[in-house]
Each structure stands twice: as structure tokens, then as C-alpha cells.
């Protein structure tokens, strides 16, 4: 174990800004990207359902 306390862990031996600045942005992008990708599919599915619904109205 490298760390005596949580404060020591967050300080990263004086490199806190750089280590957390790297890991933070990495984590942020890897959370946002899947959200955007799944939203993209949901958007196209919604419009496909709408088209299908419109088609059933037309045929009536």
C-alpha cells in the first residue's frame, strides 16, 4: 500500500493536479461518450416509431 491517508492519496505526492487532471478528463469522456452513443440510437428509434405510426394513420 502506497498511501497513509486519503489526503495523501489525493495529493499524489504533489502531482495531484496532473494525475487527477488526466484521470478526471479520461473518466468524464468515457462516461459522456456512451451516453451520447445510446442517445443517438434512441433518437433514431423514436423517429422510426413515429414514421411507423404515421404510416398506420395513412393506411386508415
Amino acid at each position: 500500500m502506497n498511501w497513509g491517508s486519503p489526503a495523501e492519496f489525493f495529493a499524489m505526492g504533489g502531482y495531484g493536479l496532473y494525475v487527477w487532471g488526466s484521470f478526471g478528463i479520461c473518466a468524464l469522456l468515457m462516461i459522456v461518450e456512451p451516453i451520447l452513443a445510446s442517445r443517438r440510437r434512441k433518437d433514431i428509434l423514436r423517429s422510426l416509431r413515429r414514421e411507423r405510426f404515421a404510416a398506420t394513420l395513412d393506411s386508415q
Partner: protein
């Protein structure tokens, strides 16, 4: 040996059969990504020792190297799909190339960003016009250029072809990035891991990096499959098989 055991791989080259297959694979790759991420982060912060010269600052390596590897690897895969699409005119190939580009661009961005955050404390500069850094920046621009070019062309098949040419020409940049630290006198350090020599780092550090690389790999596959499913629906919206999908039919 009976013939019915042979899987017809070309079957999965059609968007219609690949769409449900990708859907089934996504949770598996997310699970693997989660396992490798937890194990990799544990090693990165709690098992790997403090570096003798760089203190705790070196821990950036655990995301910097995997992101840089993925940015180059994904570019090659993207160019390969684009090339297959150009040669065989298969529909799925262009969709795969298009699905890979944003994830590749994010990996390229992360390698530059984490590199800057590593360079500042160790070299004293966020950025230098070093051969490694410059060629990695060009890779990022190639991804952006590919995405922009495809977005600028309305016809999807034409966009695929134009993008494929760009992707294939840009492949020349990948070996330049990889060998830049050998060919030129760079501020960036040489390869930490190479096939023809023993890794120049402690075993636990190496394992941490490799497991994080696997995590990035699984993440990238899951993401590309998610995105290609959206692209398949967008491009095949006019077809009957899409209109008959349960997720389209059922409200």
C-alpha cells in the same frame, strides 16, 4: 466433418444480421471493460510502487499509454474497414469505419491531454513540437478530418468512399508516430514496451498498464458496437427489416 458446422461469416457482413449480433455482444464487452477497469485502477493506484525518479506523477502512464495505443490501433482498424468497403462495396464496412472514428478521436485526444498533463511536471512544458507529439496531433486531426468529410457529404455511400481515401492515405502517419522516438531525437521517451526487448519498467507497472490497455480495448469495442447499431438504423431506416424490428414496432 459435416458442412452444416461451418459458419458463414459473410452472413454477418450484412447490417441486418450484424445488428442483433452486436446487440448481444455489447453487454459482454461492457462487463469485461468494467472488470479490467477495476483491476487496472487497483493496480495503478494501490499495487504499483512509487517511481524512483517521477514519484507519483508517473501514474498518468496507466491511461496515457493505453489511450495512445488505442488511438493508433483504432485508426488502423478504421482504415482497414474503409479499405474493405472500397474494394468489396460491402455496406457494413463503411458503417464500421464511421462508428470507429469518434472513439478513435477521443482516444487520440486523451493521449494528447494526458501527455500534456504528464509533460508539464516532468519536462516543464504542456506542449513541445517534438516528432512524437506532432505526429500524434496529426492523427487527431486525421480523425477530425475523416468525421468532418463524411458529415459534409449527404449521400452515405459517397461519404464512405471519400472517407475511405482519406483514412487510407492517413495510415502512413501511424508508423511515423510509432517509430518517431527512434527516427528522431525526441524529448518524448522511447517505447516502454517493445517486442524485441525486455520491458523497461517494473513488473507491476507493466501489468497495470497492460490491464488498463485491455480495459480501453473492451470499452472501445463496446462503444463502436453501440454506435454502429445507431448508424445501421439511420442508414437502413427505409428497409422493411428495420420497420419490423421489435424495438420499432412495440411502443
Amino acid at each position: 466433418m459435416s458442412n452444416n458446422k461451418i459458419i458463414n461469416w459473410f452472413k454477418f457482413a450484412s447490417p441486418q444480421s450484424f445488428y442483433p449480433l452486436a446487440g448481444k455482444m455489447i453487454p459482454w464487452f461492457w462487463t469485461l471493460a468494467a472488470i479490467f477497469t477495476i483491476a487496472g485502477l487497483w493496480i495503478s493506484f494501490f499495487v504499483a510502487p512509487t517511481d524512483a525518479t517521477q514519484g507519483e506523477g508517473y501514474r498518468i502512464i496507466f491511461i496515457h499509454v493505453p489511450a495512445a495505443w488505442m488511438s493508433m490501433f483504432l485508426y488502423c482498424v478504421m482504415a482497414a474497414w474503409a479499405g474493405i468497403g472500397l474494394a468489396l462495396n460491402t455496406r457494413l464496412s463503411g458503417m464500421m469505419a464511421q462508428a470507429i472514428a469518434p472513439t478513435g478521436a477521443i482516444m487520440a485526444f486523451l493521449s494528447l491531454w494526458t501527455g500534456a498533463f504528464w509533460g508539464k511536471p516532468m519536462w516543464g512544458a504542456w506542449w513541445v513540437w517534438d516528432a512524437r507529439l506532432t505526429s500524434a496531433l496529426i492523427l487527431f486531426f486525421l480523425y477530425i478530418g475523416f468525421i468532418a468529410l463524411q458529415a459534409a457529404i449527404d449521400d452515405a455511400r459517397r461519404a464512405d468512399k471519400a472517407g475511405a481515401i482519406l483514412a487510407l492515405v492517413g495510415v502512413v502517419n501511424v508508423p511515423i508516430i510509432y517509430f518517431s522516438v527512434k527516427w528522431w531525437n525526441t524529448l518524448h521517451q522511447g517505447a516502454s514496451v517493445a517486442i524485441n526487448k525486455a520491458p523497461a519498467m517494473a513488473t507491476t507497472m507493466l501489468w497495470g498498464m497492460l490491464i488498463m490497455a485491455l480495459a480501453f480495448w473492451m470499452y472501445a469495442i463496446a462503444l463502436v458496437l453501440m454506435r454502429v447499431r445507431a448508424i445501421i438504423l439511420e442508414r437502413e431506416a427505409h428497409t422493411d427489416w428495420v420497420k419490423d424490428l421489435p424495438e420499432v414496432k412495440g411502443n
